[in-house]
Structure formats: C-alpha cells, structure tokens
C-alpha cells in the first residue's frame, strides 16, 4: 500500500469522495476561519507544547497500555492489551479533543462554547474545559439520552453547563447535532462549536482526529516496548469514530496490523434496528460531510438503535468511509446482547467496568482472540469507563440502587 495517510484530508477536507464542507452559508466564514487558525497552530511548537502540558498534567496522559492477562487466558488465544482511555480525567478519550478545541476557541476570542453529546462523555469533557477556561457552555443532548445517561447530565450541570434536552426528531445524538448547528448559525459571532467526533464539515474530521491521534502514538510506543513488535490487530468501537481513528491512524501504514472498527448492531443487523452505517448503509450527505449513512431510498435519515447512546448515530466520520472503501479497515458489528456480555466479562475477569460503547470493541475481541495464537497480540481501545451506564446495566441485571 503506497497511500500516505498523513496527506488526508486534502485542503478542501476530502478523503477520497468523502468529507467536504456541506454547510449552510452562514457558517462558511466561521469554518474557513477555524481552518486557517488550525492550520496556523497545528505545527506551532508553542501551541503543541501547551497542549502536551495539558494532556500530561490535567488529563493524566500517557494512559497505560494494560495486559489483560486473566481475560486473555480465559479466552485462549492472542494476548489482549487494553489502551486505558477510561483512566483519562472525565473518564473517556473525549477530553483529548475538547482540550485542543478549547485552546483554539480561546485563541479565536470566543466566549461561549456549544457541544452536542450522545452518551454525555463529550458533553462532560466540554463542560470541564469550559469551566477551566471560564467559558459559557451549552450542551445539546437528545431527550432520550438525557434519561439514559442521567449521571453525566448531573455532572455537566454541576460543572456549570446548561444542558438542553432536544425533543425533535428521534431525540438522540443526530437531533442534538441538528440543534447545535442551529445554535451555531444563530450565535456564530461569539460561539465556538466543539464537535465531539471525527465528523461534521471540514476542518472538524481532520482536526478532531489530530487531537485523538495521541492514543495510537502512545499505544504504538508502548506495545513496542512491552512486546518488541507491532500488534497483530487493533479493535475499537465506531459511532462517529473518534476513538477508533485515534488508535488506528498511526498504524494505517503498517500492513501487518489488521484493523477492526466495531459498529453497534443493536437488535441485529438483519432487524434494521441498529446504528451500523458502514456495515449496512450507503453514501450520502449529513451534518456537513459526505459519508456512509443509514437512510431510506428517498434519502431520508433513518432512526437508529443501540444500547449505547454514544454509538447511536446514523452517520460516521468520513475518513472511516474512505478506509472502508479502500479496504484498509474491516468494519464489523456487535449487537446489544454481545456488548453486554463484553461488559460483564471485563468487569468480572479484570475488575474494570467499561463503557457500553467500549464494550462493543471488547465483545469483538472475544470473537477474534481465540482465532489467534498466544504469540499474537491485540490492542483494544478501552475508550471510556462505565460509571455513566450504571442505570442501564442495573436495570437489565435487576440490581437495585
């Protein structure tokens, strides 16, 4: 493979036919300004060292690469390493990105930040950096997600953010994104929109990826130190796809590394009740970029289902769409039941309670590891911790608070 993955997106934000800037006119100037500002700082040593300081002292990076020995032996097969993004401040990989974007917001003189959130992890990470920098923060969240991720709603409010439940459409992540876009169109002069995933109009997909690439950079150095060789496989869950691209990107040129992105199959791919556009969708345009979408034959976006609010989205980052088409990444799906089993397994075998999003990646590891040898290794991105999912799990398992 001779693709130089660092050259993407192109200057107009395209990854092959995907990505781009499909935004309402009112936002075009703000997107252009953000693009220019990001271009000017992304190789600036001062900006990068400030970012590195924050990631070390505030977020707690580097996160460990942990060998899940008991679980690996139980499964029999490859050694499974977990990239512990759950140990970041605020409990997930999302903060890697919000730290970076908040620094940009400050440089652009914006006094107010807005964010959309599904599981609430990106909302919490946005509210956190807003508190730290003294910025006003408004978080849009689907009304259904407000209920199923109540602990994160409480955290955001404690941090001083305003959480706006979105009642329109399917009352989940996509509707929160629509509402955040409407806010941004209205308040574009003083407002910075911190998008939480590698989707949206250019420059967001490339910029958010760059802020998340630290995951794979660290993991690569860590596995080389521990094993003296590259991993044989990488696994990460894919909703919008920011934790996945963060882990994958520095390994894309390593042909020996098999890469798996795990989409939520919900009640099953065959039922239509899932959120797996790469496995079952078709290309289209939504939320500022061209990518794979769950849509009907008339181009209307379909409702989605996943037990995990953070993956419950009908689109996916455009770079993933491209990586699927060129065959570099394998996109697979794990249903609700399998994800729950992944959740239980990690909790009981390793004493680590994972987020339901990350549980999809873990569940795929339980399928893949036994097909490999004990000489081989897998890195699973443990993108977040499961504290926020206690209500959902307790209900399913019949545990009373």
């Amino acid at each position: 493979m001779t693709i130089d993955f660092s050259k993407f997106p192109d200057k107009n934000g395209h990854f092959g036919p995907y990505g781009g800037i499909f935004a309402p006119e009112t936002l075009m100037a703000a997107l252009e300004q953000l693009d220019q500002e990001y271009e000017s700082v992304k190789n600036d040593p001062d900006f990068l060292s400030g970012l590195a300081d924050d990631l070390r002292d505030y977020v707690g990076r580097p996160t460990p690469l942990y060998y899940a020995e008991r679980w690996s032996k139980e499964l029999g097969g490859a050694k499974i390493y977990l990239k512990r993004e759950d140990l970041n401040h605020t409990g997930a990989h999302k903060v890697n990105n919000t730290i970076g974007q908040a620094l940009l917001a400050k440089r652009l003189g914006k006094t107010r930040i807005i964010a959309e959130t599904g599981a609430g992890q990106h909302g919490v990470a946005s509210a956190t950096v807003a508190a730290r920098l003294g910025l006003e923060c408004v978080v849009y969240m689907g009304a259904d997600d407000v209920v199923r991720q109540a602990p994160n709603v409480a955290r955001m409010r404690m941090l001083g953010a305003t959480v706006v439940p979105v009642e329109s459409g399917s009352r989940t992540l996509k509707d929160a994104l629509n509402e955040a876009m409407r806010d941004w169109v209205t308040n574009v002069d003083n407002t910075f929109y911190i998008i939480g995933t590698v989707a949206g109009p250019h420059p967001y997909p490339g910029m958010v990826r760059d802020f998340q690439v630290v995951i794979g950079e660290e993991a690569r150095a860590q596995i080389l130190e521990k094993e003296g060789k590259l991993p044989d496989a990488l696994i990460a869950c894919v909703g919008g796809g920011s934790n996945a691209i963060g882990l994958f990107h520095k390994f894309l040129a390593d042909e020996s590394v098999d890469i798996y992105g795990v989409e939520p199959a919900g009640h099953g791919l065959e039922t239509g009740e899932h959120a797996a556009p790469l496995c079952k969708g078709t290309p289209g345009v939504l939320h500022g970029n061209r990518t794979y979408l769950m849509q009907d034959e008339n181009g209307q976006i379909l409702g989605t289902h996943s037990i995990s609010a953070g993956l419950d989205y009908p689109g996916v980052g455009p770079e993933h769409a491209w990586l699927k088409d060129i065959g570099r990444v394998n996109y697979v799906a794990i249903n609700d039941e399998e994800a729950l089993q992944g959740f239980r397994d990690l909790t009981r075998f390793e004493g680590i309670i994972p987020a339901l999003e990350s549980s999809h990646a873990l569940a795929y590891a339980t399928k893949l590891a036994p097909t490999m040898t004990s000489e081989q290794t897998i890195i699973v991105n443990l993108s977040g911790r499961g504290d926020k999912d206690m209500n959902t799990i307790a209900q399913i398992e019949g545990i009373e608070f």
């Binding site: 107009n12 309402p24 075009m28 100037a29 329109s168 629509n178 409407r182 209205t186 574009v188 849509q295």
Partner: protein, 276 residues
C-alpha cells in the same frame, strides 16, 4: 433565458418587486399542496418556493421543522414533490418554481437523474441549503445542462471573497439570508440589511432576493426597497400549523389574508420607488 430569469427581469423592467412565498410540499397533507400553490399565485406570488421535506433540516427553525415533520408523516419524498410540480404545470405554465431543500434526497436520486426529472416536470431552479458553491462540482453542471437555475445563499457573514463563486456557479437569483439564524427567527435589523445589500449589489451580478425573518407587511415593505425579491416562509407556514385543526378552508383564508398583506406592502414600496 430561463422562465425564472425572464420573470424576474420583466418584473424589474416594470418596477416591481417579486414576491416569493415558501411552503413545504406535503404540509399539512399531500392533498393540500396543489391548491395551496395555486392560491399563492392567485394572491400575488410571482415565484413559488416549494420545500422538499428532509428528516434533518438543520438550518430551519421550529416552524418549518414541524411543517417538515407533518409532511414526512405522509412519507412525502422528492419523487412526490416532482409529481406535485408536474400536476401544477397542467394549470400554470407561467409561475416559476424553486425547489428548496437539503442535499441528501438529491444525492440519493443522483444529480443527473434529478436534473432530468426536475426539468421534465417543469421545475425552474433549485436551492440546496447545505450545498455551498465550493462543493457544487457535478451538481452545478447537471442542473445547468438541463436549464435549471442554481440559487445559492449569501449571508451577513459571507465575505466578498466568496461572492465570485456565487456569481459563477449560481443563476436566477441570489438568496440573501437577512439574519444570522435559522428560518423564522427574531426581528430583522433593517439598517443592517440595507448596508449588506448595498455591499452585495456592487459585486453580485444576479438579482437579490431577501428572506429569513420577514413576518409582516412593514418588514416586507422595507425589504422591497432593498431587494429584487422578498421571500416569506415561516410566517405563512405558521398559519398552516395554527389552522390545521380547523381544516383546509381556514388555512386558505389565513394564508390568503397574509399574502394580501405582503403583496400590498410590496406594491406600496414599488409605487414609492416609482415616484422617487
């Protein structure tokens, strides 16, 4: 010259401001759309902007979001909208029709298939909210080859550097979004619009239609002094919502009355311009 271009040029030659009302196709029901379109013409519409329902209307305020939801309850598709236009043309060959919507339904149909179908049923122009000129490669050519005009948006935040692309890729008219916000939002700052339109007129070669936030005759009167066309949407659509329970007769009465208010305001503004 296209039907839309001719219509706007004739109006301009006779000192008239074009009135362009918007309704969402299929709102409140598919059966209501054709009669509403003819009513708009009867009450003074020069051009009709017909909204194509899309599940995720991210640039629209609550009024049009709800209209779209009402239409989508009846599964109104882009094919259905084209069929409305075909039937409308059986009775009205004169009034230009601009389809307004989002890109994905057009992508799903395919640019060329859409351009063929739209031109064959008698659509005149297409305005796609999330399609800036930069991304319009293929889209522009497909529409142009079928004689369809491409209406692009320009906003208060649009820098002069972007207007060249609008001149090159666009045709028919340019839709000036008169405020920062979604459709149907807050009051307009008339002085700000005046300054902006003056800036745009020096660069844009197409006629300028002004829309977003024009909810009464007074504002329409002020906008008619500035632009070549005045576009009204949410203020009409909100009357559909308000009268939905009472039935189509009441919807027609309310929309007819509101259109008369707008038409009167534009005529007064035109008369005043004529005297100056």
């Amino acid at each position: 010259m296209s039907r839309l271009q001719k219509t706007l040029a004739n109006l301009k030659a006779s000192g008239k401001t074009a009135l362009i009302p918007y309704i969402t196709a299929g709102d409140p029901t598919p059966n209501a759309t054709l009669d509403l379109m003819h009513l708009l013409v009867e009450k003074g519409a020069d051009v009709i902007e017909l909204g194509v329902p899309f599940s995720d209307p991210m640039a629209d305020g609550p009024v049009i979001q709800k209209a779209v939801e009402r239409a989508l309850e009846h599964n109104v598709s882009l094919d259905d909208v084209l069929e409305f236009v075909r039937v409308f043309r059986e009775k009205d060959e004169k009034t230009p029709i601009v389809l307004m919507g989002y890109l994905n339904p057009v992508e799903a149909m395919g640019y060329e298939a859409f351009a063929n179908a739209a031109s064959s049923v008698g659509v005149d122009a297409v305005l796609t909210v999330d399609m800036p000129p930069e991304e319009s490669v293929g889209y522009k050519e497909a529409l142009e080859s079928k004689g369809l005009d491409r209406v692009f948006l320009v906003s208060p935040t649009t820098p002069n550097s972007r207007l060249t692309a609008v001149n090159e890729k666009g045709s028919g008219f340019v839709y000036y979004v008169s405020l920062k916000g979604v459709t149907g939002s807050k009051e307009l700052d008339i002085e700000d619009v005046a300054n902006q339109v003056t800036r745009l007129k020096s660069t844009l070669k197409h006629p300028i239609g002004i829309g977003f936030g024009i909810r009464d005759g007074h504002t329409a009167f002020e906008m008619a002094k500035l632009g070549d066309a005045v576009i009204v949407g949410s203020s009409l659509v909100s009357l559909i919502e308000a009268n939905e329970a009472k039935g189509l007769y009441d919807i027609h009465l309310a929309i007819g009355e509101k259109m008369t208010e707008f038409r009167g305001a534009l005529d007064r503004a035109d008369a005043k311009k004529g005297q100056e």
